[in-house]
Amino acid sequence: MRKIYSRIDAIAGNVITVTAEGVRYGELAVVSSSHGDSLAEVIRLFENKVSLQVYAGSRGVSTGDEVRFLGHPMQVSFSDDLLGRIFNGSGVPRDKGPALTESLIEIGGPAVNPAKRIIPRNMIRTGIPMIDLFNTLVESQKLPIFSVSGEPYNPLLARIAMQAEVDIIILGGCGLKYDDYLFFRDALEEGGALSRTIFFVHTAADPIVESLLVPDISLAVAERFALRGKRVLVLLTDMTNFADAMREIAITMEQVPSNRGYPGDLYSQLAARYEKAVDFEGAGSITILAVTTMPGDDVTHPVPDNTGYITEGQFYLRNGRIEPFGSLSRLKQLVNKDTREDHRALMDGMIKLYAAYLESLEKKAMGFRMSDWDQKLLKYGVSFEREMMDLSVNIPLEKALDAGWRILSDCFLPEEAGLRTELIKKFWPKG
């Protein structure tokens, strides 16, 4: 029989402190206040003082409220019944369906043994040239979409989700706007993908602490499906909200902040989630795409900065396009050697030329005379932006490669393209 405590010693921010015995670190408790029950998790023990973060927030919690310890850490039900369902950050249904309480699994489980991982080898086709050709998405990759508020990152996520060849999609929303939540639901429903999708959605209207659970709960479920041989795509939006929730708790707990108030373990905390992306030896895989909005479009902000070090590349979404600079898929080398022999060379060559185009554009803006070379670059840049960068372009990789050669031959002489002679002989459009 677990003890019930009916005296809360302190309430600060969303953290409450009770005097209790026999409590274990990470254990879950239920705080019952006049506004209803909320889950809370033990985040510090010292002698008989137990600090808990209250997921529904501490607003309205009274010092006389009841705290009941459950004797186990956070759990979620796992079965095929999850498919097509919508839950909140604590795993409580948000749709009209029944609550699931069978076969509970712990969330935030142990790390995967690196010796049981395999080298990713499958490309995930998206039909977006800026991804397929220039920054190929690879099964089991973890990749953030760096963006700023107002960019169409959620439509991009939804489009990738519908076009990507995966078995199961898990959408984890942290601080998602209600409209965006509805947008995802409708988009996936229209695309016919709802039946293979699970939502764990924390909206901006919910208490912020609850968003802390979303990545863990999404990934714990993803992990189970992957172990059963499924290819799972996890979409997280927006991880900056998750980091901000962590910061809030850290500051309440009077931790020494490291950078802009974020806790010193921000890197480890983010890594523990992103590293769940995996290709299991002899089982399925988890691929993670996560939106990270950059406050003030500043990539050196601690959240995008730490994320960038963890993930295997990043997509920059700016002005409605995936930026060719900075965007990078670190795993692309593992798959683009097997697509077509010109893939790598074309990818590098076209980006180098686009960089040169931007320099010419800058010169032009400053009123300098344009040399013949500049003129060629200007022509190239326009075609490149229209046929490659525009997000509405939806063509398979092979078509995109052919388009690349056509753009090059429209604008340059073969030796100006900076590509190996043998490739030029084979692929340069004749006539």
Partner: protein, 577 residues
């Protein structure tokens, strides 16, 4: 030793506070008993009868009152034959063995012996009965992969000894006695093939330290020719994310001309380690004809593995590197990334509520980094041979800004700085080592007066390019414009290198010198070029040929014919005085 016990009185993240009866010492290893698990931890602060321990595992489930056993030992690694080719976690647990026993995940509280105890080793005695020996001197050898692994007098035997008996040649397991020594007081000490050494104490069982002078060939052109590394030296690679630090480390771990490579994957992505540990057994080391894995030890504590063990992992790695140095081998330690290790220190420092230094890093950050890099070096062994440990560490500065504490503390103590630039990486100029900002204090593989000339040209080319942004191409003289094109040319054909091209990925010294000589001829040439368009077209065509040349196998027919091509097109334009 008397068993010491304690009880948990507080848990905060991965730190536990323990009430102890009896004496504990700093960095002592203790085990927190939670349920049926024993979680390894290390003492990091003692105040009165309370000790604070960092736990090398997830602390979930630890409760007040859980017992803690103290081991009376410092955190140590096992040293002996069988380390090569292994994949360990930060505490030297063999990961493949854990995978075999426990499947996909890393269970808590499982600690396995690093070296297999049942394996038989073919021992050949070297020392004679009656010989005088001291720590680090060889008693015999066993074959390990391509090396003769020396069985040495354990480094924790500090006296002078006489060999009383030694085992005859034959097969032995690790823990069989292979020698008996007598200390000056006449006490007998038996020696096996394996012993423990505390990771945070440098191994110093050698005669003296020497100055690093020999270049360590990495087969990366920009490093060997412009910013060389010396055997026994230290270097660091700071760079923002996505600038190619890890690819550079991977390329180095494959092609560097050393005997043993120790890779410390410290707090980085698991995927990268997987590439190494899946590919190395397949790759053949051209120097030995054996699998690369046979010369490699991987210490792998990736970012999702517990933070405290991350701190231990760099020490585990350097201790293993020093151990092989004692055998007269040249060892390269690649630590990726030292920033994660520094962050692990910062996390603990924060939990201990120490007064924070810059960016909340602890005040002792600099001295800890310095003493780590100081464990590199060339040494003269007691038998007159030499061995070396070279340390190359990547740094991941927050925001890509080199003015942060970890980069600055590292720059103070290393001998070469390979600064990666986001700008270069974004325009796909790899390796993204910045040619103007990087430096090295070590001697280079190619003639330094020549590289100085090339660097001078790069500087001036950069100036011209800056100026051109203001005055435009038409405001630039033809002479300056050619200078700019030459600088671009050096960058494109020599500084940049394609690590994914089978030929270009690794370039030996001979070829580097040869290519650089031709490059020098081109950049020193007085060229007759009518106008800027002609100049640009000339250099672009030349660049094209040179890139083809870089991709042609050394000494092959196409190599010779392309070279001829380059020389003749240069001859056509060369001004004759």
């Amino acid at each position: 030793m008397k068993e010491k016990q304690g009880r948990v009185v507080g848990v905060n993240g991965n730190m536990v506070t323990v009430d102890v009866d009896g004496d504990v010492f700093m960095n002592e290893v203790g085990y927190v008993a939670t349920g049926d698990q024993r979680l390894k931890a290390e003492v990091i602060r003692i105040r009165g009868h309370r000790a604070e321990l960092q736990v090398f595992e997830v602390t979930r489930g630890i409760g007040i009152g859980d017992p803690v056993d103290f081991s009376g030992e410092l955190l140590s690694v096992q040293l002996g034959p069988g380390l090569l080719g292994q994949i360990f976690d930060g505490l030297q647990n063999p990961l493949p063995l854990i995978a075999a026993q426990h499947g996909f995940f890393l269970p808590r509280g499982v600690y396995l012996t690093a070296l297999p105890g049942d394996r038989q080793w073919e021992f050949t005695p070297l020392a004679k009965v009656g010989a005088r020996v001291s720590r680090g001197m060889s008693l015999g050898t066993v074959p390990e992969g391509i090396f003769q692994h020396r069985i040495m007098v354990p480094f924790d035997l500090y006296d002078n000894y006489t060999v009383k008996s030694i085992a005859p040649a034959g097969k032995y397991t690790l823990d069989s006695r292979i020698a008996e020594l007598t200390d000056p007081k006449g006490n007998a000490v038996s020696v096996t093939m394996v012993f423990n050494w505390p990771v945070k104490r440098p191994i110093n069982a050698y005669a003296e330290r020497l100055k690093p002078t020999e270049p360590l060939i990495t087969k990366v052109r920009i490093i060997d020719s412009f910013f060389p590394v010396a055997r026994g030296g230290t270097y660091c690679i700071p760079g923002p994310f996505g600038s190619g630090k890890t690819v550079l480390q991977q390329v180095t771990s494959r092609h560097a001309e050393v005997d043993v490579v120790v890779i410390a994957a410290c707090g980085e992505r698991a995927g990268e380690v997987v590439e190494t540990l899946r590919e190395f057994p397949e790759l053949i080391d051209p120097r030995t004809g054996r699998a690369l894995m046979e010369r490699t030890v991987i210490i792998c504590n990736t970012s999702s593995m517990p933070v405290a063990a991350r701190e231990a992992s760099v020490y585990t790695a350097v201790t293993i590197a020093e151990y092989y140095r004692q055998m007269g081998l040249n060892v390269l330690l690649l630590a990726d990334s030292t920033s994660r290790w520094a962050q692990a220190m910062r996390e603990m420092s924060g939990r201990l509520e120490e007064i924070p230094g810059e960016e909340a890093f602890p005040a002792y950050l600099e001295s800890v980094i310095a003493s780590f890099y100081e464990r590199a070096g060339v040494v003269r062994l007691k038998d007159g041979g030499t061995g070396s440990v070279t340390i190359g560490g990547t740094v991941s500065p927050a925001g890509g800004n080199f003015e942060e504490p970890v980069t600055q503390a590292t720059l103070k103590v290393v001998g070469a700085f390979h600064g990666l630039s986001r700008e270069r990486a974004e325009s796909r100029k790899y390796p993204a080592i910045h040619p103007l900002e990087s430096w090295s204090k070590y001697p280079a593989a190619v003639d330094e007066t020549m590289t100085e000339f090339a660097r001078g040209l790069l500087f001036r080319g950069n100036e011209v390019s800056q100026m051109m942004k203001v005055v435009g191409e038409e405001g630039t003289s033809l002479e300056d414009f050619i200078l700019y094109l030459k600088a671009e040319f050096i960058d494109a054909v020599f500084l940049q290198q394609n690590s994914f091209d089978p030929v270009d990925a690794a370039v030996n010294t001979e070829r580097q010198r040869y290519a650089f000589a031709l490059l020098t001829q081109i950049i020193k040439a007085q060229l007759e070029l009518a106008d800027k368009a002609a100049a640009r077209s000339f250099f672009y065509q030349l660049r094209q040929r040179f890139l083809d040349w870089n991709g042609a196998a050394w000494g092959s027919d196409s190599f010779k014919s392309i070279e001829q091509d380059i020389r003749s097109s240069l001859g056509e334009r060369q001004a004759h005085a």
